[in-house]
């Protein structure tokens, strides 16, 4: 029995342009999940994620949608549109989560601190802690973690989408992972509270 390989995104796109509904449905089912999750991670709003996902594919249907296979993959193109639409939602005030905080030059937390053996992150508790930690990352770090680590978008596509060199993607990812470890470490071993640091007696 001969097994035919699945059609590539570009092949489906060509058929979609020819007016084949089945190609559009196939392409949508293949890519919608990643787009929806990306926007959900970034906005933390299912309503915004739903709207943006819909708008992304409506944009793809437009005659002059601007997708050029020579400039990147269709997946990268869809993520790029989703990102722009998301930023527009932020401007409109539909996303009330602060997406931008921290700067590129902020100090990178150490990846390993003596005596900070990280517990298992693959169990239920660990996954939830990780999910929360991702949600608190500044936008520029959150998006690279979501794209590269969770959605497995390659660095080149991510760089094209963000409009930055691949090296920047790598360094942001490194910083993002360090921040995640730092947050997870603090979550499990909270810093001493102010009351814990209050002096027992005054020496002056």
């Amino acid at each position: 029995m001969k097994i035919t390989p699945p059609e590539t995104d570009d092949e489906l796109f060509v058929r979609l342009r020819g007016g084949e509904e089945s190609a559009f449905v196939q392409l949508y089912r293949r890519r919608q999940g990643a787009i929806y999750r990306f926007v959900l991670h970034m906005s933390r709003s299912p309503a915004v994620a739903e709207d943006v996902t819909q708008e992304v594919f409506v944009a793809l249907l437009r005659e002059g949608c601007g997708y050029d296979p020579d400039r990147g993959t269709l997946s990268g193109y869809l993520f790029g549109i989703a990102r722009k639409l998301l930023l527009r939602q932020v401007e409109r005030g539909r996303v009330d989560v602060p997406l931008e905080s921290g700067s590129e030059d902020a100090a990178i937390p150490e990846l390993a601190v003596a005596g900070n053996a990280l517990e298992d992150l693959t169990n239920r508790e660990g996954i939830e802690a990780l999910r929360r930690a991702i949600g608190t990352l500044p936008r520029r770090y959150r998006e690279v973690v979501v794209l590269c680590d969770l959605e497995e978008v390659d660095y080149a596509d991510t760089a094209a989408m963000l409009g930055c060199p691949i090296g920047t993607v790598r360094s942001r990812l490194h910083r993002a992972r360090a921040l995640l470890l730092d947050k997870l470490n603090h979550e499990r071993r909270p810093r001493p509270t102010v009351s814990a640091l209050s002096p027992i007696r005054c020496l002056t």
Partner: protein, 206 residues
């Protein structure tokens, strides 16, 4: 490789042989590698769990409806576009035909020139009497030297005022003292615009 090189290397690349070798000798760097490995494992697990999260089904329903609507509009536009050249060609072919018909059809006679003061009242009539019998029942008299009309030939009739002397031309008697008077007459014009017959209105045939 020292610890500094290890940290620089791990920021740029996935764990490679050199990094692993150094981690094998350095406990602190081994801890970094371990934490990084645990984080990656956690991220992979989270990613696998999140794979089940998808856009609600209604998004697909809405998009398929949008796709169908777009295709329907495109087909309609295509059909319209097919008619545009067809209509253009038809119009291009039709215009000369209309012009030709206009040129070939019998000309509307120009209003008769005033032949005398207060002379002309011209009218084109559609119901033209049969002028073929020169002294026919309609009172039309064939003009001398005028070509005869075929039975199906289209004719026009105009009413004009002419000098009474015109009656002399068709053999009617006119008293000398009234020669300069004006009389009304119906003139039958052939398809070539030339007068073929005449009938004097309210004038007894003499």
């Amino acid at each position: 490789m020292n610890c500094q090189e290890f940290r620089e290397g791990i920021a740029e690349e996935e764990a490679n042989a050199g990094l692993l070798r150094h981690a094998g000798r350095c406990e602190a760097c081994a801890a970094v590698l371990d934490r990084r490995g645990r984080l990656r494992a956690g991220l992979r697990t989270l990613a696998a769990e999140l794979r089940r999260t998808e856009a609600p089904a209604r998004v697909e329903v809405g998009l398929v409806a949008a796709f169908r609507s777009q295709q329907w509009q495109a087909r309609r536009a295509q059909r319209r576009q097919w008619w545009i050249p067809a209509l253009s060609w038809a119009a291009a072919a039709g215009v000369p035909m209309v012009v030709a018909l206009f040129l070939l059809r019998p000309h509307q006679p120009l209003p008769a020139h005033r032949t005398a003061p207060g002379a002309v009242e011209a009218a084109s009539v559609t119901d033209v009497p049969d002028p073929y019998s020169a002294e026919g029942g309609d009172g039309f008299i064939a003009l001398p030297n005028a070509r005869g009309l075929d039975p199906n030939e289209e004719v026009n009739m105009v009413r004009v005022e002419v000098p009474r002397s015109a009656m002399l031309e068709v053999g009617l008697a006119v008293s000398a003292d009234r020669v300069s008077e004006l009389v009304e007459a119906d003139v039958v014009l052939g398809p070539d615009g030339l007068a073929r017959a005449i009938r004097f209105v309210d004038e007894p045939m003499m």
